[in-house]
Symmetry: C2
DNA sequence: TAAGTTAGTGACTAAACACTAACTTGGCGC
DNA sequence: GCGCCAAGTTAGTGTTTAGTCACTAACTTA
């Protein structure tokens, strides 16, 4: 018994270690023993803080959910144009995933869904929330004349989400050989290009250079080295 | 020991059972014992046909790959317009996934990738092949004036793939509460709408009614039933 | 400083796992 | 109808897993 810490601190240490290891060995392959040794405890100590392993996953998922929602609110609060807000939202999402790659690993892991219905529903609601926000941004951009008004914003929102998810899967399968945020903003530009009348892109044209330096997305983190023009 | 079958037949029986069960319990949670009892053998018998479990997964993955490529070639061979070919391709992909839901489960499962690099590379190449085909269809449609020529076909292809993958994830997380092909063709229509100049959609307009009745896509049978001319 | 609480340990369990080896038998060619 | 061999069985192996339990050291407070 080396150090002794308050339960709350240990809890978050365990959650953090779980997130880190889930990426390395896979969520379902991850054993309590591996988590314990990463934190610097015995395996039994894990069960003092989480009665079962499922409870640990639940806590991990809730933390992910909170982090996501925080980001989304930040994107919503920026006083930018709706189209820029959308760029900010997508870039933020990709940044978060790039800095915590266990998120797609857990999200994609069918193991967790099979044995933990609560977890599946939690992720399902998260996706729905995200869809609602994207839809609202697109609808606002349409009303503001920034995007073609003849397309259903809810369907277009699914396209944006699919862009993110497809990109993350490709990034994940391909050994993470490219910068997620960079490629994502490029692809979003391609989609926004399609959602704009040809030869008439007032917002996307003059903001293309600044689109990567999204407010609230840089912030000194390991990713997003400020490259604004 | 009831019946005794030739090895090749047993092999495919085991592969089929593995695919079926991988969906139900999750690819990594799936044990050789469960596979054996599903086929009607003892657990040890599995290892007569596959030296290790990884070899079994390899065989499963190769079968999936072959089925996919067969479908893609079928879409390529239809004498339709490029835009219709694209619809056919996406619908076929979604049909295959709907009839074999273990495919995304295996594809998404990070477990398998972590311990089996060959498998990851195989899926990676499959995705690249798919991307190439979609790109070629889009480029051809642009040349034929069916789609806006001012968008990069490779990026647009990634959007199409993202559409499929995002949709499948949503379908998977949401307990498969909707028809994958139906929702997919609807969403593809939304994307094609964006890829077309507003008020000028010659191909998508007159083919919208027939777009769900894609050749080789409907059919009563589970897979590619007879597709007339 | 004594009493109570809490974080952590070490040694354990029962089940599940992939995989092996020696043995047995069904079905084929002849 | 007989011999042979591949398909299949029985009975294991060693390892890994989540979870338990009795115990103890450290912190808190009256």
């Amino acid at each position: 018994m080396r150090t002794r810490k308050p339960a709350e601190q240990r809890r978050s240490e365990i959650i953090e270690a779980t997130l880190r290891l889930a990426d390395q060995v896979g969520p379902d392959r991850l054993s309590t023993a591996a988590i314990a040794s990463a934190v610097g405890l015995t395996q039994a100590a894990i069960f003092r803080h989480f009665p079962t392993k499922q409870d640990l996953w639940q806590a991990v998922a809730e933390q992910i959910g909170q982090t996501f929602q925080q980001r989304w609110l930040a994107a919503e609060r920026t006083g930018e144009s709706s189209q820029r807000k959308l760029r900010c939202l997508v870039a933020g999402q990709l940044e978060l995933i790039q800095s915590t790659p266990a998120i797609p690993a857990i999200l994609f892991s069918r193991e967790l869904h099979v044995e933990n219905d609560r977890l599946r529903l939690l992720f399902c609601r998260m996706m729905e929330s995200f869809h609602e926000i994207v839809t609202s941004f697109i609808a606002a951009a349409q009303r503001a004349g920034e995007l073609r008004p003849d397309l259903d914003p809810r369907d277009q929102a699914y396209l944006v989400i699919g862009l993110v998810q497809g990109l993350v899967l490709r990034w994940s399968l391909g050994g993470r050989g490219f910068d997620l945020v960079e490629e994502g903003t490029r692809l979003l530009e391609a989609l926004l290009g399609a959602m704009t009348v040809p030869g008439d892109r007032p917002v996307s044209a003059d903001s293309r250079g600044a689109s990567t330096a999204v407010p609230g997305a840089s912030g000194g983190g390991p990713t997003a080295a400020g490259r604004r023009g």
